[in-house]
Amino acid sequence: MLSRVADSLYWMSRYIERTDGILRMLKINYASSQDDISEFSWKSALRIFTYLEEEPINKFSHQSREVLQYMIADKENPNSVINIITRARENGRSVQDHITKELWQCLNDFYHVIRDEQLSGSLDREDPVTVLDALIKQATLYYGTIDVTMARGEGYAFINIGKFIERATQSADILDVKFSDVDYDISAADTTYWKYLLLSISGYELYLKTYRSGFEARNVVEQVVLNRNFPRSVLYSINQLQRYFMRLKSDRHAESYNKIEFMLGRLKSKVNYSTVDTILEQGLHEYLDEVRKELHEIGVALNQNYFAYI
């Protein structure tokens, strides 16, 4: 496979994963903003997903419509959903001969849906959840289309590598920023706060089934970092990342492969053999920061060893 093609597939996948994450987060945050606006703030969402300075973040913190408009439809925001989808589609467009026609049409439809001028009007005047649901459905269609149409070859591996690097990073980010809101105070006992965190990453039902003792910060950390059956946990994402990376093994390229395999193995062991206690002992922020740094280094190494074509 061409290096440029692998690069484009990887980024197409990362961008859609990011879109999906942002959309789900927005939906839940919006719902919670309708619940109890005095305790709710958009600050952490804006800190995770935008490049805004503190001042505009403070200004925006209770303006739900403005935040949705900015994060979904604002072309000036480099990380807005419309811009991310445009980039995902540009990447898909340049590798149309490596994705199925169905997948290309799906990306293309996603692009036309988000560019529909009515959308921004609906965000302003109507029920934003309807808009968000329509967009989330497009992302879900994308995942389903990959699953049922894409051949399980090298391209599929790069798509999944991109997806799980992005997801692991995102989950670490969300956890980190949410805990920074409460100054990493593990004893903070606000139930709704943790509930919305879990809802925004579709982990609420699993939490209820796993833990019977109500909402505790320790358990939230455990589920989001260490639960190997939770599809948005850091450990699950790293396991998947390793699984798809191993499919790239080839005799022609052993040196590059071994290098990244080593990095992945080290990261996996680190997370796999952590417990909530050891994480908290090290400090949640420090721990998550290390994980993110290693994920980033793996991304850089992929770039140097697999995508270098310029």
Partner: protein
Amino acid sequence: MQGNGLLNNYLVDTNTWDEMYSNDTIRDQYRGVVEFLQQLNIDELSKKEEQAKRLFMSQGITFTVYSSGEGIEKIFPFDIIPRIITAAEWNYIEAGIKQRLKALNLFLKDIYNQQFIVKDGVVPIDMIYSCPHYLREMHQLPVPHDIYVHIAGIDLIRNNDGSFYILEDNLRTPSGVSYMLENREIIKRIFPDMLPRNNVRSVMEYPDILHKNLVSLSPRQTAHPTIVVLTPGIYNSAYFEHTTLARLMGVELVEGRDLLVDNHRVYMKTTTGLQQVDVIYRRVDDDFLDPLVFNPSSTLGVAGIMGAYRKGNVAIVNAVGNGVADDKAIYAYVPDMIKYYLNQDPILKNVPTYQLANAEHREHVFKNITQMVIKKTNESGGYGMLMGHAAEEEEIVQYKEAVMKDPRQFIAQPIISLSSAPCYMNGKLQPRRVDLRPYALCGPAGIEIVPGGLTRVALREGSLVVNSSQGGGSKDTWVLAG
């Protein structure tokens, strides 16, 4: 004739051949379609037009126009009424194009090698050397199977007595074939059952024939040669076509930056290292192909690729330097070429062509300028043309001055009225002018033409210019079986 009143306003220009009507009766080949259309009401037809637009949009069969930093997706205008060609007409066209292409191929081989045709005085030498697309780099460069033109898109028009004329030979990187394929797919969706009912021949084979031909050109004797389509990139207006062809053939679509040349071999950069490339179907013009040989500022091509080509380590499709054979001034000599190389009379006619470098011709043209179209010999896409009957006085004076500066770069032809075909416009069928571009594929086993092509249509009333860059659209083209 009535029904939904679709045909009420179909007024054929008296001096024009209409593809559907002859003396107020509908030609046999159109009867099935017209009967079907008359059963529909106008709303249904408009809905089908809408559906066609949506299908083009959602499949990304679009090109992007950039204005004020933002890309806008546009579709090429598509008319839902097919253009129909009878089996007899097709047999004649097919034979004519095969003959012409054979002669043009021999001409290219000759002109880049011994130049017999010049020595025998059939084509004057200054016609060759003054052509900007004649490339000395191609001299004595052996190409596989002596094939220069692997893919040709030869434009045909029909004048008022219905006879076909060759308008242009496109032998460099003719485009539009993906529209031949996609228009057909759209028709399958919006008019279910119409194709089998009318006995329309399939065009699906095109990518398979092209792929088979490309494989046969591989310099390396290997079971699975590496074949690539070279595109200028996603911002090219024909990018959709490049990616369609790559996908339908199952080959890699590459950009210049994906390739490199080492020791006179071309490689592509893959995730597992370099992989040698055997055949390049390039959609990049000669001038941008190799910055070491041609335009040094080009980043679309590959440095050193001409060296690899000369060594025979890579095949390039179409061959480099073909522009000398589809030059509009050389066009006038094609009938002579057919006689010279094949000892046959040309089957398809040329439009009479005046060389403005010839003083006698020039005088005749200037005297009758209102009945002439003057064209630049090395331009295509409908640019740089003067349509004498429609031009302002001042425009003509300016154009004449431009001609006098470098008369070799201009030719003139009498204005030929293109045939008209029905188009669906605002709830009515209206006649609009059309041309026809079949796609011919030339491989070691001979020349093959899939039964169909691109019918381009001038959507403005009375317009004779069908180029997409000048507001033209396209139609599905049906060739009927026997």
